[in-house]
């Protein structure tokens, strides 16, 4: 783990638990430490229900950790994380706003004039390849196109930290590859700090500088931390054939497999969801 001077996120003993019925508590995440460097792309991989999204939400300030502290660029976090942009797994666009209004809103509420916000939004939509769709409503777009709008909506505010919660999870395999490439292209322009939650190990290795593995819940924690020394720029589809990619995949999968099986065994017999 790099103990860099320029740390974007520092989780220190962050634990998360939820209140259940009858005063019982569910300890989702045991006290966890994690550092994310200023220009670092870190993926968090783990089996279903391991609390990786919860950890992300704690970093976003959407969730209060039961204990521990979250530091963002050296400052302890309280309330919503103002430095972060968050790309959600579910549809999070405002359906009643057109695509361009959805992208412009982040600037508008921060006080940018409407004309200026709209012209920036148009630029961003061009960059994500949706220049021709400015006046559509989200419902009229495909899932992949909505994710592109989401990306523009988040990046237009130029956040110093990017939080992504299985953003491409609902997309089909081909669209995921294309979105991965788009993300890397945009990211390479200014290399923001990224925390990228996914359950797809291929995606994690192809995109990241570091892959962090979490154990199966409850009381999950980080059980592995792997550097990804693959060269950039990368092609998300091509890099899967790289021998180094395969070696890494095997190494990380060895650590992950037991956790996936453990998670599977605790949920097997329960609903297939």
């Amino acid at each position: 783990m790099p103990a860099t001077a320029n740390t974007a996120v520092r989780l220190h003993g962050v634990a998360i638990s939820f209140a259940l019925a009858e005063g019982r508590r569910y300890d989702a995440v045991a006290p966890t430490d994690l550092l994310v460097g200023e220009n670092e792309f870190v993926s968090i991989v783990g089996p279903t229900g391991c609390g990786k999204s919860t950890l992300l939400n704690a970093t976003a300030g959407l969730l209060q950790p039961a204990s521990g502290t979250v530091e963002v660029f050296g400052q302890p976090l309280s309330g919503i994380n103002r430095q972060a942009g968050y790309l959600f797994q579910q549809d999070a666009l405002m359906p009643w706003k057109t695509v361009i209004d959805n992208v412009a809103i982040g600037l508008e509420i921060a006080g940018t004039s409407r004309t200026q916000a709209l012209s920036h939004a148009r630029e961003w939509l061009e960059r994500v390849g949706l220049g021709a769709f400015c006046d559509r409503y989200p419902q009229m777009l495909s899932g992949g196109q909505r994710k592109r709008v989401g990306l523009a909506q988040v990046l237009i505010r130029d956040p110093k930290l990017l939080l992504m919660d299985e953003p491409f999870g609902p997309l089909d395999a081909q669209t995921r590859l294309i979105m991965g490439d788009l993300l890397l292209k945009l990211w390479s322009e200014d290399r923001k700090a990224v925390m990228f939650v996914t359950h797809d190990l291929d995606e994690a290795i192809a995109l990241s500088d570091r892959v962090v593995i979490m154990s199966a819940g409850p009381r999950s924690g980080i059980i592995g931390d792997f550097r990804v020394p693959l060269e950039r720029p990368r092609n998300v589809a091509e890099i899967r054939h790289d021998p180094e990619f395969n070696r890494l995949h095997r190494e990380i999968w060895d650590a992950l497999r037991d956790q996936v099986m453990a998670a599977y065994n605790t949920t097997a017999g329960a609903s297939a969801a």
Binding site: I80, Q90, D91, A92, W96, G106, I109, P138, M140
Partner: protein
């Protein structure tokens, strides 16, 4: 099915009914035409009556009154529903305390309020407006309440992460979400506004379509009753058509 064929079939249904009605009230095919005409009027008479009303211009006054009452009832009821729906949805304690009273008030059949309203607001348009408001209010209220309660959590979190404060969340997320529910209940609430106006007029007034029908009934003028009903039907259809136009404009984002 082709649109023209569908319309042709729809029109032919009306034609068959009118022809049967005409035969029943003028020939001995279905029994004594005098008796049938007494109970069911006859299409020619009804058409003539409607023509007289419109050519003489008397009907416009009554239509205007009913339209005014419906519009006022709709506006006031919707406004109240939006404000209270919003307020209750954002203040769970308030909603919990008033829940049984809201349910009780809504359980009351509104017709019984008509005499009270006539007493309070007189026989002019305001007693009818009040009746319509009690109907429209609850529809809009429940819709807005539900709409605000069920705002999508990711959309809300996204708004927060994009930097919205409480006021901005209200304006960009809660309000549009609630209004979309209001608009989707537009047909029902506009319909109820008309019901409130007409029932109110029927039970005591000096003008409006309900008054017209009531007057005709009072003197066993069956032709007048049927003529009034047809004008009322056409009125509601026109209003409903306007609502559809408004809806298409306001809910453009829902179309796929």
């Amino acid at each position: 099915m082709k649109r023209s064929l569908l319309i042709a079939l729809q029109v032919s249904v009306a034609l068959v009914v009118v022809v049967l009605w005409h035969l029943a009230s003028t020939t001995t095919l279905f029994g004594d035409p005098k008796t049938i005409a007494f109970f069911f009027a006859n299409p020619v008479g009804v058409a003539t009556r409607i023509w007289t009303w419109f050519s003489g211009g008397t009907i416009w006054y009554h239509l205007g009154i009913t339209l005014t009452e419906s519009a006022l009832a709709f506006l006031i009821g919707s406004l109240g529903g939006v404000v209270f729906g919003f307020w209750f949805a954002r203040k769970p304690l308030l909603a919990a305390v008033f829940d049984p009273y809201v349910k009780a008030a809504n359980a009351l059949p509104r017709v019984v309020l008509a005499p009270i309203f006539a007493l309070w607001f007189g026989l002019g348009i305001w007693s009818k407006v009040a009746l319509g408001v009690t109907l429209v209010f609850f529809i809009v209220f429940f819709n807005v309440y539900q709409g605000v309660k069920e705002v999508s959590q990711p959309v809300l979190n996204n708004g927060r992460m994009l930097g919205m404060n409480e006021r901005q969340l209200l304006r960009h997320i809660y309000l549009p979400a609630a209004l979309s529910w209001v608009f989707s209940s537009l047909h029902t609430s506009v319909g109820f506004a008309v019901v409130g106006a007409v029932v109110g007029e029927y039970l005591g007034s000096a003008a409006g379509l309900g008054y017209l029908i009531h007057q005709a009934e009072g003197v066993f003028d069956v032709v007048g009753v049927f003529a009034g009903m047809f004008v009322l039907m056409a009125f509601v259809l026109v209003v409903d058509g306007l609502v559809t136009l408004v809806e298409r404009r306001l809910l453009a984002w829902r179309a796929s």
